[in-house]
Symmetry: D2
Subunit: 180 residues, 4 copies
């Protein structure tokens, strides 16, 4: 039997456990007139960046915490914080600080009962295996299954946003970087 | 019907078209004693970075073209270049230059008959929709389906490498950044 | 004699050769209602990023080519491209493409008669030693003297912009990232 | 009078206050057989990256905290942490954690009596104005003067290392990225 099949079984299992109503709840918090900030470390951070890039293509004002031109985050902004365990030190601390400053926090984590899950205004639970040992078990290393499932989950959120906002593929293409 | 289901159908379709023997051919070219460089732009670049990070966890010497501490690439090194269309200008140019310098090139693209596919020593064809309109059609924007499928395909390659090299989850965990 | 003194002599020599009217010419091209994009490779790229970060603090809409949320560059935008030799392949190609698309290009280079210097709408000549062997000779390696002098030159440009726009230190501080 | 002259006066003043023996003390802690990690936020982070890139050119094994392929830091490694105020939350916390794990910490800051200055094994004091209001006063915004002076100070350290290690310009050039 192929390893592709084994891995796809895991991804299908986790995606079957993602509650689409949580994606809808996150969608309702993301509005054109707000600034969206994304935050994540390691491979979770790469997933957060992929989400940010697509939000930009759809027409949102979005920033990645830690990149060059990211301004201060303020009350009224939205923060999307990704952490598999929901316990990554720097992520939880910054999300707490943002929350205290009046920022709306969307948590993306494998555990609703984690520090990130508990402080967030709304939480997207993606129960893929993480390096802390949470979620659906996996033959893959570390948080691989979580990363894969977060990738798809955030892309579904983008698809919903693009439909809500009537953004066509051509419109997204015209915003896509032309300096590659 | 849920959009999660719609998207997973697309991902399952593309992954069903990935030829696992191509993953095995790429695996055979990646060796502990070589340096591995990864290259990609946009969301393809993020997938390349995720692959590089996991290779590091497994114990490889790996560099991301464009990051701070990346040295010159030399004959005998391996370059993994990711481009959905296989035509991204900077990616194809750098891959050509590397190839001419004696670097082994692994192409990851939706089309075997693209410039990247044709110059590469071996090609991993991941036929997800790209922003150039190639591959399995998708309800998702731009190259989303390609990105998702490349993510999983490169993770399957990592899984194969970790098994070949007898790397346990604990070993990978000890290499994972502890500064988060 | 101290190496600090030796290096400062070099920096003072180069900065004495920078023509402040060229900084003023660049200043005149940078306006609040335009989007500014910066571009550079290696240490020149880091200097470009430092400039972009400060422009953001002063209140400009600025993007770094290659970062996550950078949209397509369009006619009417401004591109600040940094290359010591003025010949870095990817920088010159992208600057040419931007110029052809109606983007205003500000070149920052050690040589006015380089490809970048010649295509740019205005050029800031910073004649510090580069790794191509141009400019004021240096005991320092590669383009170190160019990098140091570009850093200061672009900061002088920021100072001029902040005075023109009446941006106080407190205003800049309030825009500075609060997620560190 | 020109603003270039005004700014160069400030840079010369700060560099006149940098104690070259502190650079020598840092040099003594940086050895070929050790791994060097660099850490910094904002423009300080860019200066840290510029330093890391040059260390790579000289032949060191160096990593930037937060970049893709950075492994866990371990006892016996060296951490160079840059913070103008010496109080940046994430920098101080990570430096403390590293120190507790047996890592040698080199602090680069405007204040020896800051948290970073006090925990570091050795401190490079660069008393340029910071956004916290420390150091030599400046007409420039935020930590600009600190950044400029740190840039030059760390380049002097690189120059000393390259002389100690007998690294020529040609040797450094051959290690410099050839994928630009």
């Amino acid at each position: 039997m192929s390893l592709i099949d084994d891995v796809m079984k895991e991804v299908n299992t986790v995606m079957g456990l993602v509650d689409e109503r949580q994606i809808d709840a996150a969608e309702a918090l993301i509005k054109k007139e707000q600034r969206i900030f994304v935050l994540g470390a390691g491979r979770s951070g790469l997933m957060a960046k992929g989400f940010a890039m697509r939000l930009m293509h759809i027409g949102y004002t979005v920033f990645v915490i830690g990149e060059t031109i990211t301004p201060s985050i303020q009350a009224g902004d939205v923060l999307v914080a990704v952490s598999g365990s929901g316990k990554t030190g720097s992520i939880v601390e910054l999300a707490q600080k943002a929350k205290a400053d009046g920022v709306t926090v969307i948590g993306v984590t494998s555990r609703a009962d984690s520090p990130l899950g508990e402080l967030a205004d709304t939480t997207l639970v993606v129960p893929g295996a993480t390096k802390a040992g949470d979620g659906v078990q996996s033959i893959q290393l570390l948080s691989t299954l979580f990363d894969q499932s977060v990738h798809i989950t955030l892309d579904v959120l983008c698809l919903k946003l693009s439909r809500r906002d009537h953004i066509s593929n051509d419109s997204a293409k015209s915003t896509h970087s032309n300096m590659e």
